[in-house]
Amino acid sequence: MSNIFCEVSKYVMIVLFALYTYECFAVFRRKHTKEQQNIIFYRQNVWMFALHLDAYLVLLDQTKNWGIILFYGIQVIFFISVIVNYKVLYKNASKLLVNNMCMLLAIGFIILTRLSVERAFKQFGIAVAAMFLALVVPFMIKKIRFIRKMTWFYAVIGLVALGVVAIAGAVSYGAKLSFTIGGITLQPSEFVKIIFVFFVAGMLHKSTEFKQVVITTIIAAAHVIILVLSKDLGGALIFFIVYLVMLYVATAKPLYFLGGLASGSVAAVIAYAFFSHVQVRVMAWQDPLSVIDNEGYQICQSLFAIGTGGWFGVGLNQGMPNKIPVVEQDFVFSAISEELGGIFALCLIMVCMSCFLMFINIAMQLKDGFYKLVALGLGTTYGFQVFLTIGGVIKFIPSTGVTLPLVSYGGSSLLSTIIIFAIIQGFYILKESEGKRNEKQKTGKQTGISTKTGKIR
């Protein structure tokens, strides 16, 4: 009996997630009124809670661990309070972003509960704490206007934090990028990502003259080099791309972007020639099966999982995702693809894409140049990280060892991503309330941009 339930649930979950994903994009249709949009967002919540319930019923049925039901109940309360709180505290918040954040967290909780209940608990605890923090962020953005003034402070803090890890972290963890204080393991690069974006935005918003660009580039390069030295290739790549994107948008000079890409490629070739750990990754990417005993082991296990799962998955708790080393972190996507199916995994990519599009959409609607750049930078950070992690585990690109934001296990990653979402929400709320004020003034002039790009909440 339990087998049938598991089997049927597999398809039910795919359908629910597909519906959810469809509405992520359907909501962008121009003809929708605000009321219609709100109905769609409400429906998305229904799909999400149904999927979440079904998944936990399967997990309960498979593990017979009744404690899971309690855990499930607490999660439901958590999600409801997140959704309600945003609604009450920030009337103008983007509901799509809130929904996507909850959906991704829910998928993360489901797969982590399946992989390791203990880690799922931990992850949940961090999510709750992070959400409290995040609720304050939009408020702070509205009130504290001097965040744009602390440009050099960001650079110093960022470089020091990365430097400390490069030196102290290297001793104890090798290529790992964290250090432990009082039992809490921190991965500073996750947070430096955020302040790095603030730094670059501050610099380039002030001026885009050549001298300013050179100075900014030097500081940005310093970040990247420290990360390369501490062997965090994924991190280095994210900082690099984020900087190029921000530089290009701030200066509107494609040459900067292309030149940057070219020099980055040269640097990559040099890195390949000199660093054996780079060669290993490339080798494991080119033909993992030929080096399956060593370098290719992890990626092969990941591809076994994805391949065996096929389009519909083998069902929650039916596969062997724990065969993949660090499956809860960098390879969580493979576990999802194996057990919940390839269609589910494709939907997951699309939900991540929907988040990214929403970030950029908000950036485009903002009027303040500094906020615009910050939103763009954070959006790029998010989008590129998703690309790196999923591309790595499906062998589209060499694996760089980064996490899937909001889904992967890992406190620093979870906390920093929730903060990123909150900052963007803060900007959106700011813009929305400004827009309302303008409407009230009724100057007869059109506000131009908001009509052009279409407002989406």
């Binding site: 099966l289 092969c300 062998k395």
Partner: protein, 491 residues
């Protein structure tokens, strides 16, 4: 139109600075949408095209868990014989049974708990352990806690051809492999010495210890590397034709039974004297001295290239089958004797029977090589097709004109040359014999035959035969090929 343009310009001038700056945002957005689409595209590509290679990998431990819920499916020949099945006794113990014992030992392989799988059992492991039985039935199995019945794998193998090939090879070591040039279907594949898959698990230690040095587990048809002997003259002739496309027919040579250049000397087989020969008669008579002469007059780089175009020194394009890489090279430092030896298929050149078969098939198929395959389709235990494997074309190994010249040469071998035992049958055969010397004893040789046969009412078939240490090809390999052709064209 013309009136509108200036208006547009004015508009863009008047627009606030921000809309200009949003253009960059749009560029970035499209770049990232592109990245995400590539990501999804690759994921889809992986699932459709690449995933099977990974699923079936023997390192994929997920396969084992399926065995707990599924009774391993059967393996059938294309003509309906059961080649492997699982029997369950009253206590629920499962035994894998191979009704034809040693006959299919390498190609169908074995499936054991302790030592894994080989052959079709290994390549189709995943398919055999999946059940596409009717949904309701699986539900009932599930409710009653019974195992479902796995899917069956239908091979391209033909029982009659496998059986006659197995018998004809007799007590000799060696290999016989047969395929359909137009599709790449492997119809028979025999390798000896063999083993009994029914008892392989019990006898494992003895088989692996291999006290007599016979490597019984090795599939000689696909992995055995042999000197090609005179069958290699196909490649030498093709290289000469490619290097002299207009006047290769004008080639003449006067065979005196031996050829000497500097210190190096080479004889025709058993000192025979062929007299005046052209390219065609050199081929059909298998004149060693003439081919040594051809080799000495060729551009060696182009010769090597011809070999590589025929898939020497690279992995063969076959899915599933485990194959060895054939070896052939001649560079400018090659000695005179090395060039002469290599041109007649001795020297350092090594080839697998499957590879010679693929070259022969391409010739029979007007130059186009079809990738060999052995799994035709899978079906659920009631016979409803699940997945069908279509023939895959690899591409042209040579032009149609070149293939047709070689066809006529190979027909001549049967009409007037070393393959005359195949003359005057209901089918039109063509081929090339070989006697590949090995080891240090002069005269010890493997008997080779590669060829194909045609009759209007049936698909052509191609064959490669190697009989280890039997002697000359025309006497020992050709009769085996004949018995298989006779069987295939018996009605």
């Amino acid at each position: 139109m013309k009136n509108k343009k200036p208006e547009n310009k004015q508009e863009s001038v008047q627009k606030p600075e921000k809309s200009v700056r949003n253009r960059e945002f749009a560029v970035i957005t499209y770049c990232f949408i592109g990245l995400f689409l590539c990501l999804m595209g690759y994921f889809v590509y992986f699932q459709i095209e690449k995933s099977e290679e990974f699923i079936n990998n023997s390192y994929n431990s997920r396969q084992e868990t399926f065995a707990e819920q599924i009774i391993r499916g059967e393996i059938h020949s294309a003509d309906g014989e059961i080649l492997a099945k699982t029997e369950t006794d009253s206590e629920g113990n499962e035994t894998r049974v191979y009704p034809y014992g040693n006959m299919f030992s390498h190609i169908v392989g074995y499936s054991t708990k302790q030592y894994g799988q080989s052959g079709v059992e290994s390549w189709a492991n995943f398919n055999l352990l999946r059940s596409n039985a009717f949904f309701l039935e699986k539900t009932v199995d599930d409710l009653t806690n019974q195992k479902s019945i796995g899917d069956n794998v239908i091979t391209t193998l033909n029982y009659d051809l496998q059986s006659i090939a197995y018998q004809s090879l007799g007590e000799y070591d060696g290999a016989v492999i047969v395929m359909e040039p137009a599709t790449g279907k492997i119809l028979a594949s025999v390798s000896k010495p063999d083993f009994n898959p029914n008892t392989v698990e019990a006898n494992w230690e003895a088989i692996v210890a291999d006290k007599e040095g016979e490597s019984a587990l090795l599939n000689r048809a696909t992995q055995g590397l042999y000197p090609p002997g005179s069958t290699f003259k196909i490649i030498t002739a093709l290289a000469y034709i490619q290097q002299n496309p207009t006047d290769y027919t004008a080639y003449t040579y006067s065979c005196t039974g031996s050829i000497q250049k500097n210190e190096s000397k080479l004889n025709c087989f058993s000192g025979e004297v062929h007299g005046n020969v052209n390219l065609e008669t050199s081929f059909s008579e298998s004149c060693n001295t003439s081919f040594a002469n051809i080799g000495l007059n060729m551009n060696l780089k182009d010769f090597t290239q011809t070999g590589e175009a025929l898939l020497f020194n690279q992995p063969l394009p076959v899915s599933k089958l485990e194959v060895s890489k054939s070896r052939f090279s001649l560079d400018k430092n090659a000695s005179i004797s090395e060039i002469m030896e290599t041109s007649i298929g001795q020297g350092k050149t090594l080839v697998t029977p499957l590879h010679m078969l693929m070259i022969t098939s391409a010739i029979a198929n007007d130059g186009l090589l079809m990738e060999p395959y052995v799994i035709d389709h899978t079906e659920n235990y009631e016979g409803a097709a699940v997945k069908t494997y279509e023939p895959v074309s690899y591409g042209e190994l040579m032009t149609i004109e070149e293939a047709q010249v070689l066809q006529s040469y190979m027909q001549k071998v049967v009409e007037e040359g070393t393959g005359s035992k195949l003359k005057g049958m209901s089918y039109q055969a063509a081929g090339k014999t070989g006697s590949a010397e090995y080891g240090t004893n002069k005269g010890d040789s493997h008997a080779w035959f590669v060829g194909y046969a045609h009759r209007d009412d049936k698909e052509d078939i191609a064959i490669a035969v190697i009989v280890e240490g039997a002697g000359i090809g025309s006497a020992h390999a050709v009769p085996i090929a004949k018995s298989i052709f006779d069987m295939y064209y018996r009605y």
